[in-house]
Assembly symmetry: C2
Homo-oligomer: 193 residues x 2
Amino acid sequence: MTARGRAAARRGRPQSEAATAALMRATLAVVAARGYHAATLEEIVARAGSSKPTVYRRWPSKPRLVADAVRFALAAANPSAPATGRPLADVRAVVGNVIHALRTTPLARVLAALVGAAADEPALAEALVEVERERRRVLRAVVERAGARDADLDVDLVLGALYFRVLMRRMPVDARLVARLTRRLYGRSCDGS
Amino acid sequence: MTARGRAAARRGRPQSEAATAALMRATLAVVAARGYHAATLEEIVARAGSSKPTVYRRWPSKPRLVADAVRFALAAANPSAPATGRPLADVRAVVGNVIHALRTTPLARVLAALVGAAADEPALAEALVEVERERRRVLRAVVERAGARDADLDVDLVLGALYFRVLMRRMPVDARLVARLTRRLYGRSCDGS
DNA sequence: CCATTACGATACTACGTGGTATCGAATATA
DNA sequence: TATATTCGATACCACGTAGTATCGTAATGG
């Protein structure tokens, strides 16, 4: 995704993986703080203790840099689905993971930036859909086991409610949403186990 | 919101309301087509058959222009809540209105642009929250009558699922979602009427 | 008819910023 | 040691565009 092909240990100085990781982190932080367009390469590079040429040796453009930074963030915040044998507990765990990521990482603000910039930059639209697909894959598995008749709809409901709060209402997500959501959708008065 | 105060019918040539409306429509169209940042005043003005000075006589900046354009769009697409006496029909009607607006107006793409730019431009964040509040006011009334225990949560679920599809999954909303949503949340197997 | 204000057209300024070129130093292979 | 490639620093260019200034003209009120 970033370095050039692993063709038999090339000659000169190798690319610094530390610099790459620092750039990913700095990109996320600056995009989260300023939004996509107001995030400047200058600030990203300064924060990473790196330089613009180092960026452009890895990524061909700003949108591609940001798109990879988003994938980098997701990989660290989307653990695979648990399977404890208690379906409701699994749902609560996954929903809790999403909420925790939205509360404690810059991912929420970064996604907001992506949603707006996706119209302009195809690379960002692609990254956005990938993020959604990965989240969906994990959540769908547990809501199916919880007895959902229309698992796709349930995923839209759960993720939708969470992102709606963050992106449109612009209010922090509350950890108690885990209980409210699971009770509403899989509570004792309806089906579910 | 745009013209100056109605202080005793001032002297010279009055501001053209036709030009104002044309600018609102053109702003919505261009922001929908290009996103917030790539939407240029030049293109908006050309499309409206107007000029930049005419814009800046009404709004002090681009974000304020776009913010008012969003309010303008919402006013045309958010009818007040019906009260037919049949709660489920009322819910279906309001959800159907939202879906219809998302399908047939540029509002969806405009909101996507707003979500991203809101981090940068306070005026857009304000407009975004206002749009959400108006939608919520209407929808909340009908879901309360439909017997929702936690009306705020239900509004988040319904609007969240719809906007989630549009903003993050980037797929068109389907008119059949009305039935799937209302059945899932207020269907016969649970409470509801 | 005169003063006032808005109109659309056009040219222009000011500024930010993505991206490139060029440096000397560092780190790798052969 | 020679060669290749990366590193961070810095300066620079090219470009787009928000916003302003200045036109001559059109529409209102006094």
